[in-house]
Symmetry: none
Subunit: 295 residues, 2 copies
């Protein structure tokens, strides 16, 4: 007596409302006519309202039935759409990947990833945020970020890392500096100059690597300035306040009166890695990873 409306009722109702004929509607639904009759009757009981007028020889909708027909059409359409969307999200087709990156990753890795995503999974949204190594790690741990691009060799437990891009280092000199690509042999030629480097706590790995480069040539650099912005470092070099060693890709994208000398012969490389939470189940992230494996 005290049943609950079910979608079945709506589907049956719509068929009758369209056909205005029980037998035909039942045929269309591949059920028997008596079954349809009882279900519609039950529906009217649940709603407490007559939906059809069964006159002699013909069936028609009451005003309430007329209204319900429009609503049912909407509800069933909406449902169909929802089912589709749920499936897509489940497959990672829709959804969002929150990406963090170091400024130096913006030269090629991140743009390539975004282009690839746009092409292969145009329905995946991305948000971008430029953050320091440490800030990215914290954000990933706190699930404010899905994917980070950092220069770190070690990451906390629960996170995975994978190198995605290896870059040589370049010496950055003022445009008028006597050294150039031809007469440059070894970094110890500038052992006595002041060095401008990225801050130690902004990127410990970078800092250590640069020190090891100098060490390999037998000197300890005199670090006069530290900064977290490539822009600032180049500006300082331009103004002859020192020289710098940076990942080579950073030479693009800035307009400065400085020259770059790529140091291909040294073994150290600037490694950009991606980091993510091991148990991150964001399906859109998986798509990102697949793509990055191929870059």
């Amino acid at each position: 007596m005290n049943y609950q409306i079910e979608l079945r009722h709506f589907i049956y109702f719509l068929a009758v409302a369209e056909e205005l004929h029980y037998r035909k509607a039942a045929e269309k639904l591949f059920i028997s006519q008596p079954g349809l009759s009882t279900q519609i009757k039950q529906m009217e009981e649940i709603l407490g309202t007559q939906l059809f007028v069964r006159d002699k020889k013909k069936v028609s909708l009451t005003p309430a039935g007329e209204f319900l027909k429009k609503e049912v059409e909407f509800i069933l359409n909406h449902l169909e759409q929802t089912k589709k969307q749920v499936k897509l999200i489940g497959e990672g087709q829709l959804g969002e990947v929150r990406i963090g990156f170091l400024g130096s990753a913006m030269q090629n890795v991140v743009p390539n990833l975004l282009l690839g995503l746009k092409e292969k999974y145009p329905t995946v949204h991305t948000t971008l945020e430029e953050l320091s190594n440490r800030a990215q790690i914290n954000a990933i741990l706190a699930d404010r970020l899905d994917l980070g691009f950092v220069r770190l060799s070690r990451v906390p437990k629960g996170l995975d890392v994978r190198p995605v891009f290896e870059d040589t280092f370049s010496l950055v000199l003022p445009a008028e500096h006597p050294l150039d690509e031809k007469n440059f042999k070894n970094i110890n030629q500038v052992a006595d100059e002041d060095f401008i480097l990225f801050s130690q706590d902004y990127s410990p790995m970078y800092y250590d690597t640069v020190l090891s480069i100098c060490e390999d040539s037998g000197f300890v650099p005199n670090v006069s300035h530290k900064s977290v912005h490539a822009q600032t470092i180049f500006k300082l070099v331009e103004n002859k306040l020192g020289i710098a060693i940076v990942p080579t890709t950073l030479q693009h994208g800035f307009q400065m009166k400085v020259k770059f000398i790529e140091m291909k012969n040294i073994k150290q490389r600037a490694v950009l890695s991606m980091v993510w939470k091991t148990d991150n189940r964001n399906p859109a992230l998986q798509k990102c990873m697949d793509l990055l494996m191929k870059l």
Copy 2:
């Protein structure tokens, strides 16, 4: 194997999505836990998507489940409303309009609408609820409300807004305050006093507008108290804990020892707007809108 989704599934799903705990959800639904488990599992099979992650010791929603939860909330609300409407129409009524409003809309706009409706469409039912801006927007999106009266300049996609009433602002002062309509020239005469305002998150637009009024007179107000009730604000003013700036119509309907000075000369206006879902098909809402266009 090839079942059909039913409303039962949605109701069960929502319970689990809310409790994130099968046994508790089952208790709430007055069914057994295994029954619930199998139904959810079946639902996931039908949709072809994982909705919950059953991790060791805890249940959580997948992104697809998160999305579905919002949709199911909407669908079930909409269905409940549809059932009501059908019943009303069946009884010869035109249906129901669910109206939300800010307290400050109760002075003239909402009562006028209700009177007009009662006169022209006596068969339209109305329900009223006083809600904040944000609560109204959420309720409209979730189909718990047909029409809202808010003070907002922007609304989410899928909603329409239309200004319905423009009001001047009034300065609210304790009855004994030296300033009055005659010697009042400019708001900067009270620049040094403490201000009591409606909370920022209750009505961002109001807050910004009041700040801009002060800014135009060259000062930043010292906001000592914030409240969501006009009553409270007036009481605080009455007790000389500060002065306030409110939409002028609020001066009616309260018995307080405060005086209002209407600031006709400033350009800012308190705009009350109506909001509704663009694709709301409630026929009773249409009648409401027709009426409001003429007010």
